[in-house]
Point group: C2
Chain length 148, copies 2
DNA sequence: AATTTCATGCAATGCAATTGCATTGTTTCA
DNA sequence: TGAAACAATGCAATTGCATTGCATGAAATT
């Protein structure tokens, strides 16, 4: 068995396990999508996912991502560009409860969207009578790679 | 002159002056749009603007809003619903500089989008090398009217 | 093996932002 | 004043996504 094949099997095993942990049946498509997501350092759009992966149907990827989101495997990011981005959840998110209330960062230069998992959103003082459920904070500027 | 006509002239005068202050030529259409915006308590979408006003062309309203935005008269709000909302700037915003870094609130019940002009966005600690220009914070929950 | 349930692929739809272009109104200046 | 230059308007068309419908194929359940 070649080294390449071996590492392929290994990553498949990792992906498989992660899918099973979240009660998602590990089909070929889902393993491929998850593996691709695991290689990403930043959030990715459906378009880029489609382009980057082996030829695969766009809609199937779309539905795969939706399943992943529902099962707490990935979270959808609205970075204000108008197109949705997806990124893996790092904590143990489950269905119907994403605890990824972290800041997202959009680089105006390289157009990449980062999950700033360590930058938590601070408490916001709301006017009387207002109660909050969720919040979304997107910071825009220049990332570390685009400042040298 | 009737009371109605008088107040109409007065509001026109107010709108006119506000337009001139921002170097926008006060055409009939622009005055109408601005007057309508002045009556709103919450941010409004292009659709609702079109429905609420006297019959007027959608695209013209769209371009009017774009002009207003460029001249610092209104700011565009991305509340995460996918449709843009517009609201008047309260401070003296000028072209190319909106200083309305306030929080926006979206009510999941009545679907209204509020400008929380008093809730400023706090400082966020970014990772090393990241520099910020703008930010967008949207809080979602229930507004004061929807909690009684 | 038959039946049900789930996953996939392709086509079609929906919706809102944006642009092109022709027309009309407004300003500028000879 | 009257032509030329410029700006605003209205209508049609386009774009770019997200989302859904439906038919086919694979997997699980009996
Ligand atoms: Mn994230
Ligand atoms: Mn606002
Ligand atoms: Zn960058
Ligand atoms: Zn409400």
């Amino acid at each position: 068995m070649s080294g390449h094949e071996k590492s392929r099997l290994l990553s498949s095993a990792v992906a498989d396990q992660r899918l099973l942990q979240h009660k998602v049946k590990p089909t070929a498509m889902r393993v491929l999508v998850l593996e691709y997501l695991l290689t990403q350092q930043t959030a990715i759009s459906l378009n880029d996912l489609e382009k980057g992966m082996q030829p695969a149907d766009r809609i199937t990827i779309y539905r795969t991502l939706k399943t992943f989101e529902q099962k707490g495997l990935v979270h959808l990011i609205d970075d204000g560009t108008g197109v949705h981005k997806y990124a893996l959840c790092d904590d143990a998110c489950g269905p119907a409860e994403h605890h990824d209330l972290h800041v997202h960062f959009y680089c105006n230069n390289c157009k990449e969207t980062y999950c700033l998992s360590d930058s938590k959103i601070p408490e916001i003082a709301l006017p009387d009578g207002f109660g909050f459920n969720e919040m979304n904070l997107v910071v825009k500027g220049h990332c570390d790679k685009c400042r040298s």
